[in-house]
Symmetry: C2
Subunit: 394 residues, 2 copies
């Protein structure tokens, strides 16, 4: 690695500039693009007056999403956080339970656990996937778990451990098969946080279809956006029905009566937002192609730069490359910050990975395994401009 | 009252038909109308790419809403339920507290209390306002409250009583002044559920500006819609800042770091939805005028019908007449259902009031005062077509 962070930051700025096309003012981390039928569908909502809970786009969006991902069921909701909250409730997570979550994630993964009154229990991640390190987790659970009546309990806290929530960071799938096995061995429910991984496959099968439930996000910064939105994937008809019911105030169907049989939520996605998403899904193949093209360009540029490499999808995966990841060869917060400063000053949007959950005051007393890789990666990762338009127009 | 429900239902169908203009297929309870600048603003979001968390419409919508209501602050959120949830959290409602809520309300009012881990405590309503009967509530609290350290406790359950959430049913303001006094006397926080009362004034001041906090809704069936949406009103700068912070994942401002100092929520309103609402607010005066015109027509028609009357705003109020209310002179579930059946069969959308909260299984064990008026009104109220277009075009 270069001893001179100023020089190194210059090299990074030049490499990004070489890789991307067009105006560096447009070099956003991920900028949405509406060049297909989005306006037609959105305008249809305004023309017909169907912008809210009724209208055809919610169902159409759900059907298209299910078809694309190969999921039996998809339930559109108001955002990815709401999706995760409902996934966990339907996974049977109760107040006082523990749920395994990677420490290296966006805060919503841990917050959704808190909304259930449960406690996130943090797992370390692997440098190869940026997601949960399943070998470490298996070893760790073998040490701390007591099995009673086919349920896992944390021997230190006495609390049930109910579920594991792997997250596919920046669109790169975690190693799902061994996680599925681990969940079977320890009687844990697998809930995938697939907020970032629409368009990412693991061994030919779409992420989010391995868990009993999974959450997607269509926030403005995601590969496909509905303004704000999310979805729940499941292969289980009864869970799909319950997800729809719980996210629409748990109202029982009736011509006019208002009866609600559970404490439900207003987590439905409005028709207006679904119309936008319906148009966006048509464009997803183009977004994916251009992101891969951009990856190839970055890979070429950064091959020449010592001390830094571009993160490439694990061999079992086809990733959406939602956000491109630069990795410093070793942790160096000074170099990381210098690169962040110089790129952002140059109109190239970059950012570090999230502050690990166990470093936030709100979660510092949550249980966790040792988290050495998480702590290192927090000082090594930089996301760089990843918009499809960085690789040009279609 | 007529002894013949069939005949009575016929008379009601005819009266509604006489009052409304145009095609009875369009006689919705409340149908949104997009005939102003809504297209332009929504298209602007797609053209600029700002559909989500950034963009100018959220702030513009908040500013216009604050100006219209005369509220110092307005914070746009994802829906009215989320608004209520945050209002209650900011009112200091904790797990195990009790919150006074009318039993005659939409289930979200009670659910928002449950989301805080608190317990709704149901109050009866007045026939004059359809909202909390403040005289009864005062008498009741005098009986059950023990005051310790300037805090009210329920002597039967031992739990703190923290807040009162009056709801302005169908847009008709409750009698707010005595409720403000009652809250002072018992050290309760006043949180208004103003989900239905945008455009409704109490003694010249807009509903939602009397409480420490208030929640509005812009669901598709409300007088102004954002597809799905809500807002928090407050006159307190610090509460407004906290509301914005809590509804946007409690992220601390920083050029690139992800630090969150509270367990926050993803409750922000997307820019796309705010753009729609910004256009809708321009049209609110027209909606209000036409709803009053419709009220006058219904009033004329139903003056001739024995046994039934049109609900008219309390004398201290100027109501938005969001949903027009027919009231049977006395409770008669058979007549009510016959009218519901015949009107809906005739293409005139009608519905009863909500099942009272204490009648839902999920809330049947919640504490409550005697609720005789609520139980009667549940058998007397019918909402009838109330769309602005029922009174014609502008
Ligand atoms: C890993 C992860 N989980 C959950 C979420 C929550 O999704 P949303 O922002 O749609 O609520 C996001 C996206 O913001 C995310 O990146
Ligand atoms: C009285 C009342 N409170 C709360 C809400 C919740 O608002 P939203 O549907 O926007 O979540 C509504 C509207 O549905 C309502 O009528």
């Amino acid at each position: 690695m270069s001893a001179d962070p100023f020089h190194q930051a210059d090299v990074v700025v030049a490499a990004i500039r070489n890789a991307i096309e067009g105006n560096p003012q447009l070099a956003a981390l991920h900028q949405p693009e509406f060049r297909g039928n989005e306006w037609e569908y959105v305008k249809d909502c305004l023309d017909t007056g169907w912008v809210s809970s009724a209208g055809k786009y919610v169902e159409a969006f759900e059907a298209r999403l299910a078809e694309y991902t190969g999921s039996k069921y998809a339930v559109a909701v108001v955002n990815g956080t709401a999706a995760l909250h409902i996934c966990l409730l339907l996974a049977g997570v109760n107040a006082g339970d523990e749920v395994i979550v990677p420490s290296l994630t966006f805060v919503a993964s841990a917050n959704a656990v808190s909304y259930c009154g449960a406690i996130p229990h943090f797992a370390d991640v692997s440098e190869v996937t940026l997601g949960i390190d399943v070998n470490k987790l298996e070893q760790y659970l073998s040490d701390i778990v007591i099995n009673r009546d086919k349920q896992s309990f944390n021997r230190h806290t006495g609390r049930p451990i109910k579920a594991v929530v792997p997250m596919h960071s920046f669109g790169h799938p975690v190693d799902l098969e061994p996680i599925v096995q681990l969940c079977e061995r320890f009687n844990l429910v697998l809930v995938e946080d697939a907020a970032e991984s629409l368009g990412s496959w693991y061994k030919g099968r779409h992420t989010g279809t391995f868990g009993r439930l999974a959450a997607l996000s269509f926030n403005g910064n995601k590969i496909v956006t509905t303004g704000g939105g999310g979805a729940i994937l499941t292969q289980d008809e009864s869970l799909a029905r319950q997800a729809k019911h719980l996210t629409t105030t748990a109202k029982l169907p009736h011509a006019w009566n208002f009866d609600h049989d559970q404490i439900g939520y207003n987590y439905r996605m409005p028709n207006l937002n679904a119309a936008l998403g319906y148009g966006q899904l048509e464009r997803l193949p183009s977004f994916l192609n251009r992101k891969r093209e951009l990856t190839a360009r970055y890979f070429g540029e950064f091959a020449k730069v010592p001390g830094i490499r571009l993160f490439i999808e694990p061999e079992f995966a086809q990733s959406n490359y939602w956000l491109q990841v630069l990795m410093l060869d070793s942790p160096d917060i000074g170099l990381r910050n210098e690169i962040l400063r110089r790129t952002n000053e140059s109109g190239l949007m970059t950012r570090p990975v999230w502050t690990p959950m166990h470093k936030l005051k709100i979660y510092e007393s949550s249980p966790s395994m040792p988290l050495p890789v998480t702590e290192e990666l927090a000082k090594r990762i930089i996301n760089i401009p990843s918009s499809p338009n960085c690789a040009g127009e279609e």
